[in-house]
């Protein structure tokens, strides 16, 4: 065990930071600092900037454009992107579908989709949740019936983030309704321009419309868009969720929020109570970062791909700390936090506070994560 700062990693961090500083338009950074989001054009341009540098999908296999970085460097890269802040690449393609495709997809699927994910030519969204299947994903009811060389898809997905901008959706559908819950589910790739699809934004209390309901009415999905084997979609989904969870610490975003709180606080820093809560949160964020480092560095020793239940800590604390930072921002904003800006970009303190409630709900609610820890780690 040797934990002294590593000069090579520090140099790598500087390299990433310098690249971002030199290449990210200042306006995009300002938008993100205000709590807003890059629009599709901005995100596409930035994804391609990263792609030109070879950094669009650093965690992918080198064959598909990955960098071959070790997990520590991947973590540092993501941290710098988040804290700068620069836009993160669209996770539905790069972090969720990508790994599923290069692990389980057919060669044709890989050839067709992976390059377009890396450059954001295709905007993907995720069709897992349904109105009746939130945390209990396996109870989903959207069904796909095989008819010749296609599946006919009927049903409804809910909480589909950014579906309104999307070209494609990967989704889970029941292909064998006689099988028990987890069996008989398949993983399909659906072109959202297919006839029979209706996308309806869900307005949320933060003023945004990040999420949508997506309705499928006899939608034809070519059988070639089945990923892996029929009825085995649950396995691919579990693989995907385990990948997703380890990215949920989002330490860099917590750091960013705390930096912005510190800037917004002004005279409030003279209040020892506020100041203590701020530095206490900084310390908690550091604890999470060290935990992530431990997880990541242990990953270097075990086979890649194995899901680490400790990742549930990252999800829980990552969400709690961003929420705590948002609460501090709300407090710092004072009476002005009452204003309703009606931007759907979370750029005021109250909208951010409301919006970030989602962090402890989605991606496997924090309750689900606690149960995972209790059962898998503690053996209860």
């Amino acid at each position: 065990m040797h934990l002294a700062p590593d000069p090579e990693l520090a140099a790598f961090r500087q390299e990433v930071r310098a690249f971002i500083a030199a290449n990210l338009p200042a306006a995009v950074r300002r938008t993100l600092e205000r709590g807003g989001r890059a629009d599709r054009a901005e995100l596409t341009a930035w994804t391609r900037t990263l792609h030109a540098r070879g950094w669009a999908v650093p965690h992918w296999p080198q064959r598909w454009g990955g960098t071959g970085w070790d997990p520590l460097r991947l973590m540092i890269f993501r941290d710098e992107i988040q804290r700068f802040p620069a836009p993160e690449t669209l996770s539905f393609g790069t972090s969720m579908l990508g790994p599923v495709l290069y692990t389980f997809g057919s060669e044709a699927q890989q050839q067709r989709f992976l390059p377009r994910i890396a450059t954001l030519e295709d905007w993907w969204c995720q069709g897992f949740s349904e109105p009746g299947a939130g945390s209990d994903l396996a109870s989903l009811t959207t069904r796909a019936v095989r008819e010749g060389e296609a599946y006919i898809l009927d049903g409804q997905k809910a909480w589909t983030s950014y579906a309104q901008y999307a070209d494609w959706m990967f989704l889970l559908a029941r292909t064998d309704k006689t099988a028990t819950k987890q069996r008989g589910i398949s993983f399909l790739l659906v072109d959202l321009r297919s006839p029979g699809i209706t996308i309806q934004p869900t307005r949320t209390i933060d003023g945004g419309a990040e999420v949508n309901e997506v309705f499928f009415d006899s939608v034809r999905v070519p059988a070639a868009n089945l990923v892996g084997e029929e009825h085995r979609g649950w396995d691919y989904a579990k693989f995907l969720l385990a990948h997703e969870r380890s990215g949920h610490a989002r330490v860099g975003l917590a750091k960013l929020r705390l930096r912005l709180v510190r800037e917004a606080a002004g005279d409030l820093l003279a209040d020892p109570g506020f100041h203590r809560r701020l530095v206490a949160l900084e310390a908690e964020v550091k604890a999470l970062e060290m935990t992530q480092l431990r997880v990541v560095s242990e990953e270097r020793r075990v086979a890649t791909g194995a899901s680490d239940p400790v990742a549930s800590i990252l999800k829980i604390r990552g969400s709690e700390l961003q929420q705590a930072a948002a609460a501090l921002w709300l407090e710092a904003a004072g009476p002005d936090a009452q204003r309703w800006t009606e931007n759907d970009d979370g750029s005021d303190a109250a909208s951010a506070w409301l919006n970030l409630r989602k962090l402890s709900i989605y991606g496997g609610s924090n309750e689900i994560q606690r149960t995972i820890i209790a059962k898998t780690v503690l053996g209860l």
Binding site: S129, G132, G134, S135, D136, S139, A158, W159, T202, R203, T204, I205, D206, V211, D271, G273, F274, Q323, L330, E331, A333, G334, P335, D336, A337, Q338, R339, W340, E342, A350, S351, W353, L354, R357, K358, S360, I361, Y362, S365, N366, E367, R370
Partner: protein
């Protein structure tokens, strides 16, 4: 009179009337319909409240009012909170109304109160300023008397219903340093006054608010300008009591929705309310709501008193209410999951009202500082 915790027949009747009139379960539709408008609140519904006599509640009988007790006002505010009312109750009945009641001269009361009661006059109360962060006596807006007329100059921020109010009660400093307790006067300013500009907007919880700039605006002193400080304490204490009761109503409704959801929402083959971890968290919510309700009672009791003891009690009650409101706002959404965050579902609007408790009436730490300055509740320990 002996202490009595049960509502009287009259109070029961009022609560029933309000519940029927306010229709809490239609709050979502009302709020969503209002969001397309600058103001959003409905003159029609305001008039309906007037017709029910509700707008007469806090005023003295001599002024044509119903002289409702603090307990009755509390029960009414709980109902307003439950229904996430977006009409100018705050500005006209509680803040502005309290200003007229406690500071207004007999002539002013006669001129104004009848019109409040019949629904034809709405008020706003302009006190907070940029950077004042709920400090009660930090007033930089200046009042200068020239040729027998008071001229007001300064800025007021997040003035509830400040854009639509017919008349505005403005606090302004007649003398003294920016944060001196003495030297604050209250002035009536008509909406159309020269030199007054108002920038209206909506609040997170669908109320209307405005930022005001006053440039040598002529104001009419509300009562005697020298009474400003005491009247201000009284008005803000009334507002604190109202804030607590409104939050209690919102919390009770949020809790009820949450319990209902836990009973019906199925996951993993059974209602999620079967899961013990959620049961215990629901129990904690219930406790939090009951503690706040108890403090609404305490606040009502304190309003029968005067001076610093009243202000200390109200700060204590608000502090507990804030703690409960934070928990309820966070946990009610979490226990619902995504549905709790949608505009089409009632919970989110209750949560938004609760989330505005601190921005509107004071952060927990500022409120605790107020309580500490009054010596806490040491005298009752």
């Amino acid at each position: 009179m002996t202490m009595d915790f049960a509502p009287s027949e009259e109070q029961r009747l009022l609560v029933d009337t309000l519940r029927r009139a306010l229709k809490a379960d239609e709050a979502v539709a009302r709020i969503l319909a209002s969001l397309d408008q600058t103001s959003g609140w409905s003159r029609l519904r305001w008039q309906a409240l007037a017709d029910l006599g509700v707008l007469a509640l806090p005023f003295e009988e001599a002024d044509g009012g119903l002289a409702a007790s603090p307990e009755t006002m509390m029960l009414a505010m709980i109902e307003f909170g439950r229904a996430v009312v977006i009409e100018p109750v705050w500005s006209t009945l509680i803040l502005g109304g309290s200003a007229v009641r406690h500071a207004g001269s007999a002539a002013q009361r006669e001129r104004l109160i009848a019109r409040i009661i019949d629904g034809s006059l709405t008020l706003a109360f302009a006190h907070g300023e940029p950077g004042s962060r709920w400090q009660r006596t930090l007033v930089r807006t200046r009042a200068r008397c020239t040729d027998g007329q008071w001229h007001l100059t300064g800025q007021k921020h997040t003035v509830l219903f400040g854009a639509s109010a017919d008349e505005i009660v403005v606090s302004a400093r007649c003398f003294g340093s920016d944060d001196a307790a003495e030297g604050i006067g209250l002035f009536l300013v008509p909406a159309a006054a020269a030199g007054l500009s108002r920038k209206g907007y909506r609040t997170q919880d669908a109320l209307e608010a405005a930022d005001l700039v006053l440039d040598e605006v002529v104001g009419e002193p509300l009562g005697d300008t020298s009474l400003g400080a005491a009247a201000l304490e009284r008005i803000l204490d009334d507002a604190t009591a109202g804030a607590i009761a409104e939050a209690v109503g919102a919390m009770e409704e949020a809790l009820q929705l949450t319990i209902g959801y836990l009973k019906t929402r199925q996951q993993f083959g059974r209602p999620i309310g079967d899961f013990q971890a959620l049961q215990h968290r629901a129990a904690n919510l219930y406790i939090a709501v009951e503690q706040a309700r108890s403090m609404a009672f305490y606040a009502a009791a304190a309003q029968h008193e005067a001076g610093p003891a009243r202000s200390a009690a109200l700060a204590a009650a608000l502090a507990v209410t804030i703690t409960s409101a934070r928990l309820v706002a966070e946990e009610a959404i979490q226990l619902h999951g995504g549905i709790g965050m949608t505009m089409e579902y009632r919970l989110g609007h209750l949560v938004k009202r609760l989330a505005m408790l601190e921005p509107r009436f004071g952060s927990r730490e500022v409120v605790l500082d107020q309580l500490a300055r009054h010596g806490g509740l040491a005298g009752e320990m």
